[in-house]
C-alpha cells in the first residue's frame, strides 16, 4: 500500500503519520506499506492507494479550522481521488478539512469546555463495514489519544439520522470529551471510502509511546488495498 500524506503549511502530525505507516505498519523485513509526502500545491496526489490528511493547524487555522485548506490545489486532487473510490483518511485537522471541503457532512466547532484537550479517550467501534475498520470487532473499545481545541461534531438532526441509518458513524466516544452530538468521534462518507476522525490513530502505533490500538485502522486500510489489488 502506497500512502500519500498531504503537507499543508502548518500541518504538524504529517511526520507522525509518515512514521506510523513506514515504521510501525511496515515492520522490518516486510515491504507492504510505504508513505510519501504530498505538498499542498500539488495538482495530483500521484500514484497512491490512500491519502492521509494529517493533524495540525493548516494555514494557521486562524479562520475556521480547515476553511483555508479546502481551497488549496491539492484538495481538488483529493476530491477527485475520493470520487474515484480512493481511500482518504482525515485525522483531527484532516477531519476538519474534509468537513469544510464537503467530503463529509456536518461541522467541527470549539470544544464544549472551550479548552484544548490532550488525553486518551475510549472509542466504541460502531461499524466494521468500512475499509478503515474491517479488522475491528463491532462494539470493540479502542483507546486512542485526542488533541484538539475544535473537535465538537455538530450537524442537523436529519444528517445525524442519516449517518445512523446508513451505518456511517465509525466511532463514538465512550465518555464524550468535547460535546460532540451523539458522541460522534468519526464518520464515513456515503461511499464509505472517506473517514474523518478526531482521535489520532497514528499516535498509538508503538508500545513505547503508550499503545498500538491505532494500528488496527491502518491494517484495515492495508487489507482493503491488498484485496482490491487481488480483485484486479
Amino acid at each position: 500500500m502506497k500512502v500519500g500524506v498531504v503537507v499543508f503549511p502548518g500541518s504538524n502530525c504529517d511526520h507522525d503519520a509518515w512514521y506510523a505507516i513506514n515504521k510501525n505498519l511496515n515492520r522490518p523485513g516486510q515491504n507492504v506499506a510505504s508513505a510519501e509526502f504530498i505538498w499542498h500545491d500539488a495538482h495530483s496526489v500521484g500514484q497512491v492507494d490512500a491519502v492521509i490528511l494529517p493533524g495540525g493547524f493548516s494555514y494557521g487555522d486562524y479562520l475556521r479550522c480547515g476553511a483555508i485548506a479546502r481551497f488549496s490545489p491539492v484538495m481538488q486532487a483529493v476530491q477527485k481521488f475520493a470520487a474515484d473510490g480512493g481511500l482518504v483518511l482525515g485525522i483531527c485537522n484532516g477531519f476538519q478539512i474534509l468537513v469544510e471541503a464537503g467530503l463529509l457532512p456536518g461541522a467541527l466547532i470549539r470544544n464544549a469546555g472551550l479548552r484544548f484537550i490532550c488525553k486518551e479517550v475510549g472509542l466504541e467501534t460502531v461499524t466494521t463495514a468500512s475499509p478503515f475498520t474491517s479488522t475491528l470487532q463491532k462494539g470493540e473499545t479502542l483507546h486512542l489519544p485526542i488533541a484538539h481545541g475544535e473537535g465538537q461534531y455538530i450537524a442537523d438532526e436529519r444528517t445525524l439520522d442519516e449517518l445512523d441509518a446508513e451505518d456511517r458513524v465509525a466511532f463514538r466516544y465512550t465518555e464524550n470529551p468535547n460535546g460532540s452530538m451523539r458522541d460522534i468521534a468519526g464518520i464515513l462518507n456515503a461511499g464509505r471510502n472517506v473517514l474523518g476522525m478526531m482521535p489520532h490513530p497514528e499516535r498509538a502505533c508503538d508500545p513505547l509511546v503508550g499503545s498500538t490500538a491505532g494500528l488496527a485502522i491502518f491494517e484495515s486500510m492495508l487489507g482493503a488495498v491488498v484485496s482490491g489489488e487481488r480483485a484486479k
Binding site: 484544548f116 490532550c118 464524550n176
Partner: protein, 742 residues
C-alpha cells in the same frame, strides 16, 4: 536632537553609562544610537549585574559541545547526534498580558533552538503565580493562570512541539510578578549545527520571516525594571505571537540550512534587528551594514529608532554565501515567507545603519555586544529574609488524615492535569513519559537514545537559604532524572530575582549562583546556557529568590518505569532511608505552608555525596528493571509521595521508623529519597548496600487504601486512595472556578 538627562533616564541608562557610550563612540550618540545602546546594555540583554558571578558556573564536561554564549547550549548524545536546549523567562510580559506574554515566551525559546539547526522536540514550563485563595487579588491571579496556560498551549500546540512537563507553584510574592520560564530542547546531527558568527566580507545579510512592526519596542528595557502602578500602560510593549508563522520559519530554516548557503543565522529576539546584527558581527569580528529601507515593514512611517528596537516576532537574520542568495530565497518563498537582502558584512567591525540615505547609527559591534558595563553590585550583607530562623512550636495534629487531604488538594501539590491537558504533549510521537511524572522523557527516533528532562526550583527553600536552596534544586532535578533511570549530563538555569541594586537581593543572587555552581560541579551537570531575570518586583515587593534548574539526562530508549503503583502485594522500598528532620528545617515544608500557614527556619539538610550515591543506586535499579514503580520524594514528603503513587485500585500499607514526631516523619522533606515498588526487594537491598545507601522494605502495596502506622503500630494515616485521587484531581479546576474538563 540633544540628549538631555531626562532622555537618558527615560532609556534606563545611568549618567555613568552614558559617559561610557560617549567615550566608546568618541562623540555624542544620536537619539537612535542611544536607543540601540539602551536595549543592548539593558539588564535583560547584557547581564550587567550577574555576568561576573555567572563566570563561577561550571560550563565544561564530557558531553558538552557548545557552552554558554550561543543561542543555546549543545550536548552530544552519541552516534553523532546532539541536542540543543535552553530555558528562558518571559515574566514581565506575562504579567502585563498573560496570553501573548507566555505565547511569545514559547516562541522566543523555540527560535533559539532551531536557529542552531536543531528541530525542537520538547518544551517544559516552570510557572509561579500568586495564590488562588485567601488573597485580595486571587481572582486576578486565576485569570493570569488561565491566560498563561492558554498562551503556552496556543503557541506550542500550533507550532507542533509537545509540552511534556514542568512545575507550577503558588505564593503571595508572585501575585504581582508571575514567573513564566520556558525550556525547549531540539535535536540534530552534530555536523548540522549552525552558529551565529558572521563571516566573509561582502556576504549578504538577509532578513527572513515576519514583517517588522511597532510591537515590543523597548521590551528588553521593560524586562529590566520594576513594575509600578503605571506598568499597565506598557501593554503595547508586549509582542504578539504567530505560531503558524514560526512553524513556517522552522521548516524553511531547516530546509535552507541544507542548501549549504547559510554562513550564520540568529533569531531576532529581544532588541530584534539590533541584537541579531551586532552580536553576529561581534562574534565574527566583522562589521555589518544595514539599509532599513529594505526591511519588510508592516506599518508605514516607521523611524529608524522604531525599526531597530522593534521586537516583532518570528524573524531571523541570516548571513549567506555571496552569489547563493537565490537558493535561499527560493526556499523561503516556497514556505510563503519574506526573504530579502538588507545589507552586507563589512570590514571594520561597526554596525552601520542607514535609513532614507541618512546614517542613523554607526557603532562598533563590540561596544554593543561585549562592552556593556559589568557591575559588581554590593552584596556584603546577609541575603534578604523576613522569616524567623529558630524552630517554631506547633501543636500536635488533631487529624493527620485531614492534613494529608489538605496537602494533596493544595494548589501546589494537587494534580496539574487542568494545565497539562491543554498542552499537546504527544505530537511527534516521541513522548515516553509525559506530564505528571518525575521527569519527562522523549525518544530520539533516529538513535536508540532518549532524553530525560526535569525543571525544579523551590523559592521557599531559597528564601530561607539561597545557597542551600539552589543546591537542593540541582539535587532534586538530578534525582528526578535518576528516578526514571537517566544519567544527568548537563543543565540550564533561569535565575529569577528581585532588584539587584538592593544589596540584600544581590546577596541572594550571589549565594544562589555559588550554590548552583557547587552542586552542578558535584553532580557533573555543567551549565550550557540560561537566562537571568531581575527586577521581579512590584511596588517594592520582591519575589522569593527563584532559581529554576533544568537538567537534561540521557538513557536508552525503552519502556520507562512510571511513578504509579502497578499491582497489589509488591514490596515498598524507601531508597535513601527515612532521613532526618527537625523543628527548624520543618519550617520550609509544604506542611508548614499549607497546614500551619507559616514559614520559618531553614531548608532541609543536603548531603551531596550521599545524594549522588542514591542517584547511582537508583539508576542501577532502573537499568536492571527491578522496580515496578519509582517516585522521588519532594514537596510534602513520604506521605504525599505515597499518595501520588497510589491509584484508586492500588494503595499501600507502610510502617514508619526513625522515632520522629509524626508530622516530621510523614511530611518532612528530607532529600535523597526515592520510593520504589518491587517484586525483587532483596536484589535492590543488595544494590543499596553496595552503594552505601540506606533503605529497607517499609511496607507493601495493598488494594484501595493508604495506611501508614508508626513503630508502635498506631495508625497515623488511613484513607481511601480513590478519595485521595479525587481530591487531587478536583482541586485545581475548583480553585480556578472552572469545570473539570468534560
Amino acid at each position: 536632537m540633544t540628549i538631555t538627562p531626562e532622555i537618558i533616564k527615560h532609556h534606563q541608562l545611568t549618567q555613568g553609562e552614558f559617559d561610557k557610550i560617549v567615550s566608546l563612540l568618541g562623540r555624542q550618540p544620536s537619539y537612535t544610537e542611544l536607543g540601540v545602546f539602551s536595549v543592548m546594555w539593558s539588564e535583560h540583554c547584557s547581564y550587567k549585574s550577574s555576568r561576573i558571578h555567572l563566570k563561577k558556573l561550571p560550563i565544561t564536561g564530557k558531553y558538552v559541545v557548545q557552552g554558554p554564549g550561543e543561542n543555546a547550549g549543545i550536548i552530544g548524545i552519541g552516534d553523532g547526534w546532539v541536542v540543543a536546549f535552553k530555558i528562558e523567562s518571559h515574566n514581565h510580559p506575562s504579567y502585563i498580558e498573560p496570553f501573548q506574554g507566555a505565547a511569545t515566551g514559547v516562541g522566543g525559546i523555540l527560535r533559539d533552538i532551531f536557529t542552531m539547526g536543531a528541530r525542537p522536540i520538547a518544551v517544559l514550563d516552570s510557572l509561579r503565580f500568586g495564590p488562588l485563595t485567601g488573597s485580595a487579588v486571587a481572582e486576578r491571579n486565576a485569570r493570569i493562570v488561565a491566560g498563561v496556560v492558554s498562551g503556552i498551549a496556543h503557541y506550542g500546540n500550533c507550532f507542533g512541539v509537545p509540552t511534556v512537563g514542568g512545575e507550577c507553584i503558588f505564593e503571595e510574592c508572585y501575585s504581582g510578578n508571575p514567573l513564566v520560564n520556558v525550556f525547549a530542547l531540539g535535536v540534530c546531527r552534530q555536523e548540522d549545527v549552525f552558529f551565529a558568527k558572521a563571516k566573509g566580507i561582502g556576504n549578504p545579510v538577509i532578513y527572513v520571516g515576519a514583517k517588522t512592526g511597532r510591537d515590543g519596542i523597548h521590551g528588553a528595557s521593560m524586562a529590566s525594571a520594576e513594575f509600578t502602578e503605571e506598568s499597565k500602560q506598557k501593554r503595547p510593549n508586549v509582542q504578539v505571537g504567530d505560531p503558524f508563522m514560526e512553524k513556517l520559519l522552522l521548516e524553511a530554516c531547516i530546509e535552507a540550512m541544507k542548501t549549504g548557503a547559510i554562513v550564520a543565522i540568529q533569531d531576532m529576539g529581544a532588541a530584534g534587528l539590533t541584537s541579531s546584527s551586532c552580536e553576529m558581527g561581534s562574534r565574527g569580528e566583522v562589521g555589518i551594514e544595514i539599509d532599513l529601507d529594505l526591511v519588510p515593514q508592516r506599518e508605514t512611517g516607521m523611524t529608524a529608532y522604531e525599526m531597530l528596537l522593534s521586537e516583532s516576532q518570528e524573524r531571523m537574520l541570516i548571513v549567506a554565501e555571496k552569489g547563493r542568495e537565490q537558493e535561499l530565497f527560493d526556499v523561503f518563498h516556497k514556505w510563503g515567507l519574506d526573504a530579502v537582502t538588507i545589507g552586507s558584512v563589512t570590514e571594520g567591525g561597526n554596525l552601520r545603519i542607514t535609513h532614507k540615505g541618512v546614517v542613523e547609527a554607526d557603532i562598533p559591534n563590540r561596544a554593543l555586544a561585549d562592552e556593556a558595563p559589568k557591575y559588581d553590585r554590593p552584596h556584603d550583607v546577609p541575603p534578604h529574609r523576613t522569616a524567623p530562623l529558630e524552630a517554631q512550636a506547633f501543636a500536635a495534629s488533631a487529624d493527620l488524615n485531614a492534613d494529608l487531604m489538605k496537602l494533596v488538594s493544595s494548589a501546589d501539590l494537587c494534580s496539574k492535569r487542568w494545565i497539562w491537558e491543554q498542552y499537546d504533549y504527544q505530537v511527534r510521537t516521541n513522548t515516553l513519559a509525559g506530564p505528571g511524572g518525575d521527569a519527562a522523557i522523549v525518544r530520539v527516533k533516529e538513535t536508540g537514545q532518549s532524553i530525560a528532562m526535569s525543571l525544579d526550583g523551590n523559592g521557599r527553600y531559597c528564601f530561607l537559604d539561597p545557597r542551600e536552596g539552589a543546591k537542593l534544586a540541582v539535587a532534586e532535578s538530578c534525582r528526578n532524572l535518576s528516578t526514571v533511570g537517566a544519567l544527568p549530563v548537563a543543565a540550564t538555569n533561569n535565575l529569577n530575582f528581585g532588584n539587584p541594586e538592593r544589596p540584600e537581593i544581590m546577596a541572594q543572587l550571589v549565594e544562589a549562583v555559588e550554590g548552583i555552581a557547587e552542586a552542578c560541579s558535584f553532580f557533573d551537570a555543567p551549565i550550557t546556557g540560561g537566562n537571568v531575570s531581575l527586577y521581579n518586583e512590584t511596588l517594592g515587593e520582591g519575589i522569593y529568590p527563584t532559581p529554576v534548574l533544568g537538567v537534561v539526562g540521557i538513557l536508552k530508549t525503552e519502556m520507562p518505569v512510571g511513578s504509579l503503583f502497578r499491582s497489589v502485594g509488591t514490596d515498598l522500598v524507601l531508597v535513601g532511608g527515612f532521613g532526618t528532620m527537625d523543628g527548624q528545617r520543618f519550617g520550609s515544608s509544604q506542611y508548614a505552608k499549607q497546614v500551619l500557614g507559616q514559614l520559618w527556619g531553614l531548608p532541609p539538610a543536603l548531603d551531596m555525596a550521599y545524594e549522588k550515591r542514591v542517584h547511582e543506586a537508583m539508576r542501577e535499579i532502573a537499568l536492571l528493571h527491578l522496580a515496578e514503580s519509582a517516585h522521588d520524594l519532594s514537596d510534602g514528603g513520604l506521605a504525599v509521595a505515597l499518595a501520588e503513587s497510589s491509584t484508586p485500585e492500588v494503595g499501600a500499607k507502610v510502617t514508619m521508623a526513625g522515632g520522629l514526631r509524626p508530622e516530621f516523619a510523614l511530611f518532612g522533606e528530607a532529600p535523597s529519597r526515592i520510593l520504589v515498588s518491587t517484586k525483587q526487594a532483596e536484589q535492590i537491598l543488595v544494590i543499596l548496600s553496595r552503594h552505601e545507601v540506606q533503605g529497607g522494605v517499609i511496607g507493601v502495596t495493598i488494594g484501595e487504601r493508604l495506611q501508614i502506622e508508626d513503630e508502635g503500630k498506631n495508625m497515623l494515616i488511613n484513607v481511601s486512595t480513590a478519595s485521595l485521587r479525587d481530591s487531587s484531581e478536583a482541586a485545581l479546576p475548583a480553585l480556578l472556578h472552572t469545570q473539570h474538563a468534560v
